[in-house]
Symmetry: C2
Subunit: 204 residues, 2 copies
């Protein structure tokens, strides 16, 4: 990089000092601690991956995490193996039977979603769990495998200190209204469009 002269350095310092004052004032206003209902949705990548990143962060603090996968695909086997390093800090249930277009069996999909929901209720009642990842729950809700009102009521009624992350495209408005944090992953550019296949460590 080019040399920085003193006036440029001073302009930078003054700008950043101003920015820090704004930042500090904003932080000071935030005093509430609570278990968050987080929704990762949208057509882009990273919905489940970010949820597992959060799980990793929690595990790093020695806290316990529950994962319930509503739609089991060929995906996520990499992180499933990786999570084994954390022993019983992590409780993992893969309840789905595959993508809905793989099973093509509505009754079986509904039964799998209902069985997954039983696990969710168990984990929500377990005070040792700090974070619950409900992977692809949005898909189960989108296809009406589970009753939306019942699911939203249960999530709203969660323990005060329980964080829950729901993933999947097309999150229902009733769910995003109840959520504290909604992130829409947008696919600005995708390598699948350029003929690149799903690869180990990236997509699964």
């Amino acid at each position: 990089m080019a040399d920085i002269d003193d006036s440029e350095a001073e302009r930078h310092r003054a700008k950043m000092a101003k920015r820090k004052a704004v930042q500090d004032a904003e932080v000071a206003q935030k005093t509430i601690e609570k278990g968050l209902l987080i929704v990762n949705t949208g057509p882009g990548k990273g919905k489940t991956t970010a949820a597992f990143g959060l799980a990793l962060r929690m595990l790093g603090y020695g806290r316990r995490v529950g994962v319930v996968q509503f739609i089991k695909g060929k995906w996520h086997t990499g992180e499933k193996d990786a999570f084994k390093a954390f022993g019983d800090q992590l409780v993992w249930y893969s309840m789905g039977e595959g993508f809905t277009w793989e099973t093509q069996d509505l009754k079986r999909d509904i039964a799998a979603a209902e069985a997954a929901w039983v696990r969710v209720e168990e984990l929500m009642a377990d005070p040792s769990i700090s974070l619950l990842v409900l992977d692809e729950l949005n898909i189960a809700l989108r296809y009406d495998y589970l009753d939306l009102d019942r699911v939203v009521a249960a999530l709203k009624g969660r323990r005060e200190d329980l964080h829950v992350v729901v993933t999947g495209r097309n999150a229902k408005p009733a769910l995003t209204e109840a959520a504290d944090l909604v992130t829409e992953m947008g696919a600005t550019k995708h390598h699948f469009s350029a003929g690149v296949k799903a690869q180990q460590g990236i997509e699964f």
Copy 2:
């Protein structure tokens, strides 16, 4: 859920069989394998978290991952502890001196970014690394701590099988043009606006 009658089940099956045919045809067209240049940008949450989720997936396959953090904040300590479980599968460098509005020192920020880039070049040259996470590189580029052309040229010239993830807001167009996968994390709803503070296991 209500009972599913046979005609409804059949409609579902037919719809999903059609969807599967489309899906299978799409997958069959994708044959290229290559190291991807991935950019996680946008104002929403999950840019770094998703990158670390990818790292976790790679680690689960026994592959090696390098992380270079360009802007070191108070963040990410949870996953840093968690990653210790993977020993020398992970190489981690936190090179930044803090957020630019914390240091307020342009020369120091530039020196830190340059030192970080030296580490990146070392890791790019190491054939045992499958994935490289360049955390908050977009911030270093945004403030011109590093020369954009040089960085983009180096990333384009990476080994064929090396995946690289760049995170941070305001990704430069030259970088997204060179990327295979760009995801824009959009902040649809954020709990900070409701006065909730940064919490252990969620933000850091």
